[in-house]
Symmetry: none
Subunit: 200 residues, 4 copies
DNA sequence: GATGAATGAGTTTTCATTCAT
DNA sequence: TATGAATGAAAACTCATTCAT
C-alpha cells in the first residue's frame, strides 16, 4: 500500500470505475462518486482534474483488474490452450453469474459498455479501449496458434481473424447477457468459439 | 403523409432516434433535438411527455426502420437461406460502411447501443429491446432450420442456440466495428456465423 | 339560454370558476380549464382575453351563484330573522358537508380562498371580492337589526360591527373547515354568532 | 449563531417563509427567493431538496416565530387569562397594523394563507398547519378554562368549542383584515370573543 | 366562430467545477 | 492536504398566449 494520498486516489478511482461499469459514464455524477467514496468533493478534484480524467484513469484501473483476473500466471501456466480458453471464459461467466445472483443485474464488460457509449464522443477513451481489446485479441490469437501447433483444432483460419472474432463473440455475449440478464450467454459463446476454431 | 401534427411528431421522432443512435441517450439533450428538428421546445413536449418517452417511441421507430430495411419481402423472397443470411449481413455492412465513409464515424446497432447504456437503468427500454432481439434471433433460427432442411449446412446444433449466437456475434461486430471504426467486422462476423452453421 | 357562443362562454366560466374554487387560481392552468370544458384553447381566448379575465368574471359568476343559492326569495320570505340566519348557515353547511362526503375534500368559500391568495396581488380581484363581502355584511346586519326590532336578541351592539363579525366568523369557519375537513365548523360558528347576537 | 452553512440555510428559510407569507406559495418563484436571499440558485438546492421542502420547513420556522412572539413567558406570566387574551390579540393587531402602515398591505396569518391555498393539494402541509392550529386552540381553551375557574366569565360553554371558536374567529379576522386592509378586524374579533366567553 | 398547431419566456432542478479557509 | 460552501451554465419541463387556416 502507498501513502494516505495514494490510498485516497485509489479509492476514488475504484469507486468511480465501478460506478461507471454499473451505471454508464454519463449517468454517474461526481456527487455520487464522492458520496460512495466517502470523500469531500474538493478532494476529488485534487486527485483528478475532471470527471473525464477519472474515467480515463478508470479504464486503466479496469484494465489492470482484468489482467490480474483473466491473464494471471496461474491460468496461463495451463499448457493446453483450449483448456485455457475454457478457463478464461469460465472466469468471465462466473463473475457475471455472481453479479446476477447478488444484485439481480448483470453489468457486462466495462470496456464494451464504455466504448459503446463513448467511443464516438471521446477519442482518448476510444483509443484506450481499442488498445485493450487489441491485447485481448492477441491473447486469443495466441491460444489459437498454440492450439493449431498442438493439433488441437481442425480449422485453417487466419489467426488474426480468429483473435478478433473471439473477442467479437465475447463482446456480443456481453451485450446479450446484460440485456437478457442471462450469464449463460458466455457459455453459449464458448460453443461458438470452439466451433469456429474447430476444437476437437 | 398525415396531418401537419403527425408530420411534426414523426419529424421529432426521427430526429431524436437518429441523435440517440449517433450520440447515446444521455448525451443527447432535448435542446439539441428541437434545434435539429427545427421546432419549438414546447412543441416537443406537446408530442412527447418526456425525453424518456421519445426514446421509448424512438425504439419502436428504429424497429420499424430496421424491419423495412432488413426483413423486407425482396430480401426474404430469396429461397436459399444462406444467400439470405449473406444479403442480410451485407445490408448491415453497407450501412455501416457508408456512415463511415460519409462521417468518419460508425454508429453500430442502435439497439445494442441503447441497451448497453440503459438496460440496467430503465426496465421499459430493456424489455422493448429484448423483444426486438428475440425477433432477430427467431429470424436467424429459421434461416438455420431452412438451411438444415435444404441440406445446406453440415452442423447439428440446436437451432435456438444458433439463432441466439448469430445475433450475439452480430452484436459483437456492432461493438467492435464502432470502436475500431472498421465496418469489415460485419464481414468477419459472417465468416464466424457460416463456420458456426457449417455452411458449405 | 342564449346563443351557442353564449353557452360556450358560460361553460368556460363555470368550469374555470369551479376549478379555481377547488384548486386555487395559481394552480389551475388554462390547459386544464379547456380540457375540462371540452373546448379548444384558442376558443378560450376568443371569449376571455386572459386567465386573469376569466377569474375576474368567475368571481361575478360565483357571486350570482351564491346569491341565487343563499339570498333567494324563498329563504328570505321567512319573517323570523334568526330562523333566516339558521337557514343561511344551514345551506352553507350542507354544501360543504356534501362536498366532503362526495370527494373527501371540502373547498370552503370561493371568495375567502381567492381573496386570501390574490387580494394583495391583484387590486381588481380584491375590490370585487371586498364588495361581495360588504353585501354579505349588510345582509347579516339587517338580520341583526330586524332581530333587535322584534326583540329576539338581548345584545346592544353596533349592527355594522355585528354584520362584519358574522361574516368574519363564517370566513373563519371556511378556513378551519377546509383545513380540518370538518364541515361542522359552520354549525359551531352559528353558536358563536348566536351568542354574539344574544339570540334567545 | 451557527456555522456559515447553517446561517445560509436559515437565511434562505427566513426569506422564503416571508415571501410565501407575503405573496402565497405558488406565486413565489425560486428565482425570487435566491435573489432576495442573495445566494446562488444551486446553493438553494444544496440546503433544500425542493421548493416544497422549503415551504414545509418554512411552516416550522413560522411556527417557532409565532410561538416566540405570541406564547412567550412574559405574556404568559400574566395571571389574568382575559388580560392574556387581550395581550395576545393586541400583539397580532400590532403586527398587522405595522405592516399596513409600512407597506400599505397587510398579509394576515401565514398559516391561514398557506392552508387556504394548499391544504387540499398537499397533505403534508395540511397536517403541519392543522397541528399548529390545534396548539392555538388548546392555548385559548386553557384561557377560557382558567377564566371560568377564576369566575371571570359568565358563560357555560364547552371549553373545546371555545378554543376552536376563538381560533376560528381570529382566522376570519385574518381573512377580512387582509382583504379590507383593515387591521382593526382583530380588535373587533376580540369583542366577539369576549362576548362569546361572557367576559365581564 | 372553431380548431390544430406553434411559441417565447419562464420555472424547477441539476451538474461539473471552484473558492476559501 | 482536507473540507464546507458557493456557483455559472445548462437541463428538463411548463405555461399563458397567439397564429393560421
Amino acid at each position: 500500500m502507498g501513502t494516505k494520498g495514494e490510498e485516497t486516489k485509489k479509492c476514488i478511482l475504484q469507486t468511480a470505475a465501478t460506478l461507471f461499469w454499473e451505471h454508464s459514464y454519463n449517468l454517474v455524477k461526481v456527487d455520487q462518486i464522492v458520496k460512495k467514496a466517502q470523500i469531500n468533493k474538493a478532494s476529488f478534484y485534487q486527485y483528478f482534474k475532471s470527471k473525464e480524467q477519472v474515467a480515463l484513469d478508470g479504464i486503466d484501473f479496469m484494465e489492470n483488474m482484468s489482467k490480474d483476473f483473466l491473464m494471471n500466471p496461474q491460468l496461463n501456466s495451463e499448457p493446453n490452450p483450449i483448456l485455457r480458453l475454457e478457463a478464461f471464459i469460465g472466469l468471465v461467466y462466473n463473475v457475471q453469474k455472481q453479479m446476477h445472483e447478488a444484485e439481480g443485474k448483470l453489468y457486462g464488460c466495462p470496456f464494451v459498455n464504455m466504448s459503446t457509449e463513448m467511443s464516438n464522443e471521446n477519442e482518448e477513451m476510444r483509443e484506450k479501449i481499442a488498445k485493450i481489446f487489441r491485447n485481448f485479441e492477441e491473447y486469443h490469437q495466441k491460444i489459437y496458434e498454440e492450439a493449431k501447433e498442438q493439433g488441437l483444432v481442425s480449422s485453417e483460419l487466419d489467426p488474426v481473424l480468429v483473435g478478433r472474432q473471439v473477442v467479437g463473440i465475447l463482446n456480443g455475449a456481453s451485450v446479450s447477457s446484460k440485456l437478457k440478464k442471462r450469464p449463460e450467454e458466455f457459455l453459449d459463446a464458448l460453443i461458438s468459439i470452439k466451433v469456429l476454431m474447430g476444437a476437437k
